[in-house]
C-alpha cells in the first residue's frame, strides 16, 4: 500500500513539476520563438563575419611572419587577432545563452500545447464539435513537431532530486528501483493505450465503410421501394381504339407505349390502351374495372422522396475525437516515461559516482 502511494505521489510530483506548468499563450510564445530565431540567425551571421576576418588576419600574420617585416606591424596584427578571438568567445557565449533560452521556450511551448490540448479534449468530451476537433488536430500536429524530449531535465532533476546528503547507496538504490518500476508501469500503460488505439482505428474504419456503402447505394436510388401509381384510362373496343381519358403523368398513348397488355379479368372483349412498354414492362400494372368504361391502371413508381439510408447515427466524429484524445494520452505517457527513465538514469549515475568514491 505504501509502495503504491509512493508511486502515485512521485508520479504526481513529476507530472506537476515537469509537465503541468503555467500554460502561456501559444501565440506569444511563438512570436518570442521567432524573435529568438532571428537573433540566433543574426549571431550566426556575425560569427561568420568574425571567422572570415580572423581567417584574413591569420593569413596576414602568416605573411608577415614569412616576410620578416616590421615587428610592430606584426604585433598590431596579433593584437587585432586577440580582439577577434574575444569577439568570437563573446558571440559563442551569447549563442549558448540564446540556445538555452530557445530550449526553455520550446519546453514552455510544449506545456502550453499540452494545456490547450487538454482543455480542448475536455470541451470535446462535453460537446463534439468539428471546429474544436480541427483545432485539436492542428495543436496535436504542432505539439508532435516539438518532439517529446525533455530539455534541461538533468539540471532540473538535479535540483529537485530528493537525494539528501544523508542518503546512502541503499536509499539511492531504492529510489532508483522505484523510478524504474514506475517506468515499467508506464510502458505497460503505453502498450495498453496502443491496443485501444488500434481498436478505435478499426471502429473508425468500419463506420466509414458503412457511410461509404450507404451513400453509394443512395446515389443510384438502389435502396428505394416501388409503389403504385394510378392512371385512369378508357376501355376501348378492338375495332376502335380511342384516346385515353386522361393524360395523367404525361401519358398520351404514343408509340412509346404502343404494346397492349393482356386483357384483365372482367374486361370482356376490351383492351386497355396506354400502358407502359411491353408485357414485361407492365409487370406491375393490372387494371380495375370502373363504371362508365373507365379503368384505373396501376404502374410502378419509385418512392423518390425516400431519404438516404438511415445511418445518420453511424457517425465517425465521436470515434475521431476518441482517437485524438487517446493519442494525446499516449503522448503524455511517453513523455512521463521519458522523464522517469531519465531520472532513474540520474539516480544510477549518482549511485555509481558514490560507489566509485567509496572505493
Amino acid at each position: 500500500m505504501i509502495h503504491r502511494l509512493t508511486v502515485m505521489a512521485v508520479t504526481w510530483v513529476l507530472a506537476a513539476n515537469s509537465l503541468w506548468g503555467d500554460a502561456q499563450d501559444i501565440g506569444v510564445l511563438r512570436t518570442e520563438q521567432k524573435r529568438l530565431e532571428a537573433a540566433r540567425d543574426s549571431l550566426v551571421e556575425q560569427r561568420q563575419i568574425v571567422v572570415t576576418e580572423a581567417d584574413g588576419l591569420s593569413s596576414q600574420i602568416d605573411g608577415l611572419k614569412a616576410e620578416g617585416s616590421d615587428p610592430e606591424e606584426l604585433h598590431e596584427a596579433l593584437r587585432s587577432s586577440l580582439v577577434l578571438v574575444q569577439r568570437m568567445v563573446d558571440l559563442d557565449r551569447d549563442m549558448e545563452a540564446l540556445k538555452g533560452r530557445q530550449d526553455s521556450l520550446k519546453e514552455q511551448l510544449r506545456l502550453a500545447y499540452d494545456w490547450e490540448i487538454g482543455t480542448l479534449i475536455q470541451k470535446l468530451s462535453r460537446q463534439p464539435d468539428r471546429g474544436l476537433l480541427t483545432q485539436l488536430m492542428l495543436y496535436q500536429e504542432e505539439r508532435e513537431a516539438l518532439g517529446t524530449g525533455m530539455v534541461g531535465t538533468g539540471l532540473r532533476y538535479g535540483e529537485e532530486m530528493a537525494i539528501g546528503p544523508e542518503d546512502g547507496p541503499e536509499e539511492i538504490r531504492q529510489k532508483m528501483e522505484l523510478m524504474e518500476d514506475i517506468a515499467i508501469r508506464l510502458q505497460a500503460e503505453a502498450a495498453k493505450t496502443s491496443k485501444q488505439l488500434q481498436r478505435l482505428e478499426e471502429e473508425h474504419r468500419l463506420r466509414t465503410r458503412v457511410r461509404v456503402f450507404s451513400s453509394e447505394l443512395s446515389l443510384f436510388d438502389e435502396h428505394l421501394p416501388e409503389g403504385r401509381v394510378l392512371v385512369r384510362s378508357r376501355v376501348v373496343t378492338e375495332e376502335k381504339a380511342e384516346e385515353p381519358l386522361l393524360g395523367d403523368n404525361g401519358f398520351d398513348g404514343d408509340n412509346e407505349f404502343d404494346a397492349a397488355p393482356p386483357p384483365s379479368a372482367g374486361l370482356e372483349e376490351g383492351i386497355l390502351e396506354d400502358m407502359r412498354g411491353t408485357e414485361e414492362g407492365l409487370s406491375g400494372g393490372m387494371g380495375a374495372i370502373l363504371p362508365a368504361g373507365q379503368v384505373l391502371l396501376e404502374q410502378r413508381e419509385l418512392d423518390r422522396e425516400g431519404r438516404m439510408l438511415s445511418v445518420e447515427g453511424v457517425s465517425v466524429d465521436d470515434v475521431t475525437i476518441e482517437i485524438h484524445k487517446l493519442k494525446a494520452h499516449q503522448q503524455e505517457i511517453h513523455q512521463l516515461e521519458g522523464v522517469v527513465r531519465e531520472r532513474a538514469a540520474v539516480f544510477r549515475q549518482h549511485l555509481q559516482k558514490m560507489l566509485e568514491g567509496e572505493e
Partner: protein, 353 residues
C-alpha cells in the same frame, strides 16, 4: 446537347470539389454482373455493368463558431447490353452536390443548414427514372447533459422529372429526433417526420361510384415514426424500425408501411471486413377496391421491397480496398406479377485519393 451541358456542369463540380480543396476524395471502380438488368418479371436478361463512383468532401471554412462544408458525389453505371434488340446500350449518371454549414449558437446548441442538388440522368433504360432535385435543409440541435441529444429540422425540396410520364414532386418536411447515448458504443434514438408532398398531377376522386379527376393536385401527407439502436462491440450493428402512414387527397394513394433496416459490419480477420445489409418494407394501400376488382385478394394493394447485401472488403496499403459484393433484391407488389427480382455480383477497387 443536354448531355453536353451535364458533362460540363459535372466537370465544374468535380473541379470545385476536387483534390485541390477536398480533404477526402474517394474513387470506386467496379464491374457488376446483374441477372435482371432491366428489372423485368419475365424475359429476364442478364449482363454486365461498369460502374464508377467518386465522392469528395471538403471543409471550406472552419472556425470555433461554425463551419462551411461541401460534399460531392458522382457516379456512372454503364450497361454493356441494350434493352432493345437493336438499340444502343444505356447508362445512368447521377450527380449529388451538397453545400452546408453549422453555426454554434452556444456550447450546447447549434444551428445547421444544407442545400442539395441532385441530377440523375438515364439513357435507354426504361426501369430507371431521370430527375433533377433541389433542396434546402435547416436544423437546430441541442444537447442536455452528456447523453441526451435532440433536434428539430425543416426540409424543402422539389423534384423535376425528366420523363414526362413521371410526376414532379414538391415537398415540405418537418422532423424531430431524440437520441440517448449510454456510451459512444450504445445509442438509441427516436424520430418523427411529417411531410407534405405535392405531385403536380390531378388528384383522383370517387364520385357517384366513378373515379374522376378533381381540379386540384394530388397532395399526400406522410408521417413517419422511427426507432433505432446502434451497438458497437467489435461488431457494429445498426437497426432501425419505422412505421409510415401516408394519407392522400387522391383515391388509391393512402397507405401504411413498415420498414426495417439492419446493418452489420465487422472485421473478419486477415484484413477482411464484412458488411451485411438488409432492408425490408411492406406497404399496404388503404383503398383495396381499386384493384380488388381486377384481382381478388388484393395482391396489388400490398407492396414489398426487400434488399439483402453482403460485402467483403480488404484493405491494401493505406489507400486501396478491394471489395466483392453480392446483392439480392425484390421490389414491387406482393403476389401476382407486379414485381421483379434481381441478383447482382460485383467486384470493385476503392481508392482514397
Amino acid at each position: 446537347m443536354t448531355r453536353g451541358w451535364l458533362l460540363l456542369g459535372l466537370a465544374c463540380l468535380l473541379g470545385w470539389g476536387g483534390p485541390g480543396r477536398a480533404s477526402t476524395v474517394r474513387a470506386t471502380l467496379g464491374l457488376e454482373y446483374d441477372d435482371n438488368l432491366f428489372e423485368y418479371q419475365k424475359s429476364r436478361r442478364s449482363g454486365w455493368i461498369s460502374r464508377l463512383y467518386l465522392s469528395s468532401g471538403s471543409r471550406l471554412l472552419d472556425r470555433k463558431w461554425g463551419n462551411l462544408q461541401v460534399q460531392h458525389q458522382w457516379g456512372i453505371k454503364r450497361f454493356w447490353r441494350s434493352e432493345e434488340v437493336a438499340g444502343t446500350s444505356g447508362d445512368i449518371v447521377a450527380n449529388y452536390l451538397e453545400l452546408g454549414g453549422v453555426l454554434r449558437l452556444s456550447e450546447r446548441l447549434q444551428a445547421s443548414w444544407a442545400s442539395e442538388l441532385k441530377i440523375k440522368s438515364v439513357q435507354q433504360i426504361s426501369s430507371e427514372e431521370s430527375y433533377l432535385r433541389g433542396g434546402l435543409r435547416l436544423g437546430l440541435n441541442g444537447q442536455w447533459g452528456n447523453r441526451l441529444k435532440g433536434g428539430i429540422g425543416y426540409r424543402r425540396s422539389g423534384d423535376e422529372a425528366r420523363d414526362p410520364r413521371l410526376a414532379d414532386v414538391s415537398m415540405h418536411e418537418g422532423s424531430a429526433n431524440l437520441s440517448y447515448a449510454r456510451s459512444r458504443r450504445l445509442r438509441g434514438s427516436l424520430g418523427f417526420r411529417w411531410r407534405r408532398q405535392n405531385y403536380g398531377r390531378p388528384a383522383l376522386m370517387e364520385r357517384d361510384e366513378e373515379v374522376e379527376e378533381s381540379g386540384i393536385d394530388q397532395e399526400d401527407v406522410g408521417r413517419e415514426w422511427s426507432a433505432a439502436v446502434q451497438v458497437y462491440r467489435g461488431l457494429l450493428a445498426h437497426v432501425q424500425y419505422a412505421f409510415i402512414n401516408n394519407s392522400s387527397n387522391s383515391t388509391g394513394y393512402g397507405f401504411a408501411a413498415h420498414r426495417m433496416q439492419l446493418m452489420l459490419t465487422r472485421h473478419l480477420g486477415k484484413g477482411v471486413d464484412g458488411q451485411l445489409f438488409f432492408t425490408s418494407q411492406v406497404r399496404r394501400y388503404d383503398e383495396a377496391e381499386v384493384s380488388e376488382a381486377a384481382e381478388p385478394g388484393g395482391a396489388h394493394d400490398e407492396y414489398e421491397q426487400t434488399l439483402f447485401s453482403l460485402k467483403l472488403a480488404r484493405r491494401f496499403g493505406e489507400r486501396y480496398d478491394l471489395s466483392w459484393q453480392y446483392r439480392s433484391s425484390r421490389n414491387g407488389s406482393r403476389g401476382g406479377d407486379g414485381f421483379f427480382r434481381k441478383k447482382v455480383y460485383s467486384l470493385a477497387i476503392d481508392m482514397g485519393i
